[in-house]
Amino acid sequence: MKILVSLKRTADPDNANKVKVAPGGAKIVTDGLEPKVNPFDEYAVETALRLVENGKTRIAGDTVVVASFGPKEAATNIRQSLAMGADSGLLFTTDDDSLDGDLVARALAKVVEAQKPDLVILGKQAVDGDSNQVAQVLAETLGWPSATFAMSVNLSADKKTVTVGREVDGGVVKLTLTLPAVISVDLRIVGAKAVTNNVTPAAFAYNDGPRFAPLPMIIKAKTKPIAEAPLASLGVDTGLKVRYTGFELPAARKAGIKVKDVADLVERLRTDAKAL
């Protein structure tokens, strides 16, 4: 079993309130914010690791490869995944600004051709652009089955299919995909029992959330390979389809008002908010 996970670095999402728009709206300014792994991508790494584990031990022969596109410094973010337990990394260097969802998806398709994974797992979206496109475009480009917004994944005992619980407006849809396939994951995938592989005993519960990189693994991760190559070496057209014409902040929220009683509330919902 070989799993490919893609990874994007985003300006520290814990401090997203410090993101500013440059004067004139030409760009987003993320000064002083540490680039961290996109949280949904971290969940993707966690999902992949749970699929190749028997509880606390690794299943021999299974591998998790992490790929990222970005500047050389993104190697640090790849290394974090290696410290969590991934086996190797691929970094295709380019500027953060020279990428869009379409290019990443097409580049990933090339990586898939070379790596031949059984499964590609991605975060459902990056928390900076919130585009939510790469998994879909990738699956389409490859012609592979795909399931987005996964909140549960079950890998069959014969490793030929995965059954994915997808979070949709009305509830949960279950899809069974034949491998190779593409999955994008949502927050709930890192629940204690959301990922099952018919190897880890049913009684075993993971900690909620993506795992910490334990200190001993951080040093070990230094010896795991990260292959670096320019993005262009993949032989993709590096032209962008998405062009940003300007940025502006959403209008500041107006202060709330206090209503007298329920009747007043209903009246205001009807007349002011026109919600009823």
């Binding site: 401090n15 309130n17 002083g32 540490e34 410290a83 910490f212 200190l215 230094k222």
Partner: protein, 599 residues
């Protein structure tokens, strides 16, 4: 974490202090740290800060609200203390700074101290228990027999047991040379211990099966005073064949405390039934000297915890000040207009900037000391190691006491910024203020640190440590001038270095002439003076880094904030040096003349 949650420490600042001010990456050139690079440091800090935010901090209010009690001789810890401790052990934090030969990661103390500061800010009690365990193991690693190392060290580093330091006795706190716990040799080479210890942190709990006490005691017939004190390893359960049996260590009571409430501080009776076995650690009569390895590490640890607790409260009050609307601008005409956030008021900004100057200055000072401890142990050659040892010895009492003393003031300001709400337990600043108070008491009170600094450290070796310190600070000023830092600040710090040198020579001469009061009666003022100077040095280092980085179009506000905090320190604190020096020099005698009956 939601976007406006308290980050405990600012990640940008920790990054700045580690890599732009204290040059953590340069340590990787030393063989001991060769396995590391900036990336491993960053990832380590990332793991630990996440533990602090996800596990430690969310438990802070709960663990404070329900302190453990003694029931039938047993003390049940808050379940969240278990969660914290197990998470730390699993992440390998307990042995992080130790070499691979004992299962550690050879992490520099500089990086470990910065990382652990997040834990202290998130939950000082939880971090305290970890520190005790690590340092107890380290004592056994350094001085224990092979038998003790095999039996206890690995369990401690792995978090399967916890450790304590048993120094204090009811009649001997500051004055450890007066302890009376007795060790009587037995035929098999072990000792029978009898005596009472008090305030022992983590001295009893149900977290791990065994607790490994490191106990100071006096071997029968040993000389009076500190020369007669030896160090013993006294497990709660001792081996008996293949089994573990009770070792007659009784918990006689749990103290009710105003802070650090999750970590039980207990009274222990050793050998009530005359069946408490101890194993000698290191050399008989060298107990206090051996224990100083743990005490010195703990002093830096206490300083780090104090800086962190001040820092977290500063962050909390900053968030409050940015969002709490109250009053209008003094210059504003519009009495009917909307209220402004309190951060707009000059006095609130003063309180915030003072907290920032104290907390970030204190953290930088503690990291400077930690860096010297790395060089003292692992420096490139003996000359570098010896110089670092001197600097570390000199900085230790300051790095321990300044964050505690001024940190408490900062913590009170965080309460103040919150107004009436700050005085309620609905808000966290009161909790951090209570936790902070301990830091000027345990591991040697501030009074003891002042005596240690003036009576011992600055005069040691003919003042060689102070000479090294003056060199360091002068070099900092030279670099600051080159970087274009305010000449007025540079001149002021040069003046302070000269004043510290001249004053110390004067006071030392009095001591040599037998005038002990003339030398030491203002040891607290001297400590205050020297601390103010050390923190001015730290702000000069930070201002230099900020000045260099400024203007590149990146993080302008961050660097500007550093320069304003430095300005504040030079404008409001550095001038106090003159007054403090005068008090020391004149040996101003108001309190010396106060006979007890005159109070």
């Amino acid at each position: 974490m939601t976007t406006d949650a308290n980050p405990l420490l600012s990640d940008r600042d920790v990054d700045f202090l580690l890599f732009e001010v204290h040059d953590a990456a340069s340590l990787c050139a030393l063989p001991a740290f060769a396995d590391h690079d900036r990336g491993t440091f960053e990832l380590t800090v990332q793991t630990v800060r996440r533990l602090a935010r996800d596990v430690f901090f969310p438990a802070l209010r709960d663990t404070d609200a329900a302190p453990p009690a003694l029931r039938d001789g047993a003390v049940a810890l808050h379940p969240k203390m278990r969660a914290m401790f197990e998470a730390l052990a699993e992440a390998g934090v307990l042995s992080a700074t130790r070499p691979a030969s004992v299962g550690g990661q050879s992490l520099p103390a500089l990086v470990a101290t910065a990382a652990n500061a997040y834990l202290c800010a998130g939950n000082a009690s939880g971090a305290g228990l970890a520190m005790l365990t690590t340092e107890a193991a380290h004592l056994i690693e350094s001085f224990g027999s092979d038998e003790l190392r095999a039996r206890y060290m690995h369990d401690l580093y792995a978090g399967r047991s916890t450790g304590t330091m048993c120094l204090t006795e009811p009649h001997a706190g500051s004055s450890l040379g007066d302890i009376t716990t007795k060790a009587t040799p037995r035929a098999d080479g072990t000792y029978n211990l009898t005596g009472s210890k008090i305030f022992i942190s983590g001295g009893e709990h149900d977290l791990t099966e065994n607790i490994i006490h490191l106990v100071l005691a006096r071997i029968a017939g040993a000389p009076e005073g500190s020369r007669g004190v030896s160090l013993f390893c006294v497990p709660k359960l001792r081996p008996d064949g293949d089994a573990l049996v009770d070792n007659d260590v009784r918990c006689a009571g749990v103290l009710h405390k105003i802070g650090w409430r999750a970590l039980p501080s207990v009274a222990l009776n050793l050998g009530e039934g005359d069946d408490c076995r101890g194993w000698l650690v290191g050399t008989a009569g060298r107990g206090l000297a051996h224990m100083f390895q743990m005490m010195n590490a703990a002093r830096i640890g206490v300083g780090a915890s104090a800086a962190a607790v001040a820092y977290a409260a500063y962050q909390e009050s900053l968030r409050y000040a940015l969002t709490r609307p109250q009053g209008r601008a003094l210059s504003g005409r519009d009495a009917q207009g909307p209220q402004v956030a309190i951060v707009e008021h000059a006095d609130v900004r003063r309180m915030l900037l003072r907290q920032k100057a104290i907390a970030e200055g204190a953290l930088s000072l503690v990291l400077a000391a930690a860096r010297q401890s790395d060089l003292a142990e692992h420096g490139a050659d003996e000359a570098q190691r010896a110089r670092a040892r001197r600097l570390l010895d000199l900085l230790t009492p300051v790095a321990k006491s300044f964050p505690a003393e001024k940190g408490f003031e900062a913590n009170a300001l965080a309460v103040q910024v919150h107004g009436g709400y700050g005085y309620t337990s609905e808000y966290l600043p009161e909790l951090w203020m209570r936790d902070q108070k301990l830091n000027s008491i345990h591991e040697g009170t501030s009074g003891i640190q002042g005596l240690d600094l003036l009576g011992r450290k600055v005069v040691a070796g003919g003042g060689e440590a102070l000479a090294a310190w003056s060199e360091e600070v002068t070099l900092t000023v030279t670099r600051a001038r080159a970087a274009g830092v305010s000449a007025a600040w540079c001149d002021a710090l040069d003046g302070v270095v000269a004043e510290v040198g001249a004053l110390t020579i004067e006071l030392a001469a009095r001591g040599l002439a037998g005038d002990v009061d003339g030398m030491l009666s203002h040891s607290a003022d001297y400590l205050d003076l020297f601390s103010t100077a050390c923190v001015a040095w730290q702000w000069m280092l930070q201002a230099t880094a900020a000045q260099r980085a400024k203007g590149a179009g990146r993080d302008e506000a961050f660097y500007e904030g550093k320069l304003r905090a430095a300005q504040y320190w030079f404008a409001t604190e550095v001038p106090r040096v003159a007054l403090l020096a005068r008090l020391c020099r004149e040996a101003e005698d108001s309190y010396l003349r106060m006979a007890p009956e005159a109070f």
